[in-house]
């Protein structure tokens, strides 16, 4: 079973609902961003909005995950997430250490027998 029709029609759906629905926001951002001053107040506010939004996305991925992550308990996910932070700071703020450490801890926490 194909979720989309073959040929031109399926690709057209993906182009419109995927590319256009996404790209319009980049075009708008380009339009507004090229008129703003680097040190300006508006830009500072937009930066705060973008940062809060991405942070919100992280918590959503952690608390309400999709796919294979949803099969693990919340406790395992939270413990490994905290573990990733500890690895990051213990590893002198090395991103690779934090990201890899957290993922390894996730596997270990899941495999650990529950007392």
């Amino acid at each position: 079973m194909a979720a989309l029709e073959d040929g031109f029609g399926g690709y057209l759906v993906l182009f419109a609902a995927g590319f256009l629905a996404t790209e319009i926001w980049r075009w708008l951002g380009l339009l507004v961003g090229s008129r703003l001053d680097m040190a300006g107040e508006v830009l500072q506010w937009v930066r705060a909005v973008a940062t809060a939004l991405v942070a919100g996305m992280v918590v959503r991925m952690l608390l309400f995950p999709a796919g294979a992550l949803a099969d693990l308990s919340l406790a395992v996910r939270l413990a490994a997430f905290a573990g990733g932070f500890i690895c990051y700071y213990a590893g002198k703020r090395n991103l690779a250490v934090g990201v890899a450490g957290g993922s390894v801890l996730l596997v270990l926490a899941q495999l650990m027998p529950v007392p």
Partner: protein, 233 residues
Amino acid sequence: MPPSTTAGAFVGGLGLIISVPSVVLFTTALGFGALARDGGFDFGHAVFLSAIVFALPNQMVLIDQLMRGATFAGAALAVTLTAVRLMPMTVTLVPLLQSEKRRPLLQVLAAHFIAISTWIEGHRRLPTIPVALRLPFHLGAGVAMACMMLSGTIAGYLLVAGLPALVTAALLFMTPLYFILSLIATSRSAMDLAAVAIGCGLSPVLYLVMPGFDLLATGLIGGTLAYVLGRRR
């Protein structure tokens, strides 16, 4: 060492192909490829999406919507709501990329290459690069990330079905960890840190109160609060 020529800057950007964000992007794309196959999408459709959209969360939402039998309008709306984040991200990155020479077409291409990974790396690396060389660096980074996204999608579609679920989960887990740690690493002010903290706190509440619009609301409310708090200091 910062690059000194346009070609050098482009190659420097390409060099991001060996980096934490590139690995994270690859693993997320693996997940996307596997999801597309599970959902009954053609190989060509999955690769086409990765080639033109360059924003994995949006591609996941689109696949998910079509899998659930959503109408075209419903799917497009869900995707565009997920994509709103790209506007403030583009607004803050574009001024960094501007030099005296106007290159409208390259700017449009540069905007296309804005996703969370290139946005984070851009804020981290571009300020240390001479203004005239930032655009080629960012384009190089975009090409590198696009290559990782395409190869991840292809590998995920063709190979991932055989992986144990726990390994897939561990790969997926890299994405939120990379996002949050790099947000903290690139924070330059109390306002940035406040935005991270408030965004984290607001998001689960708003997710339950207004699903679909939760990220937009988290950004607007959380960002504004952080801005006001940051200004008062």
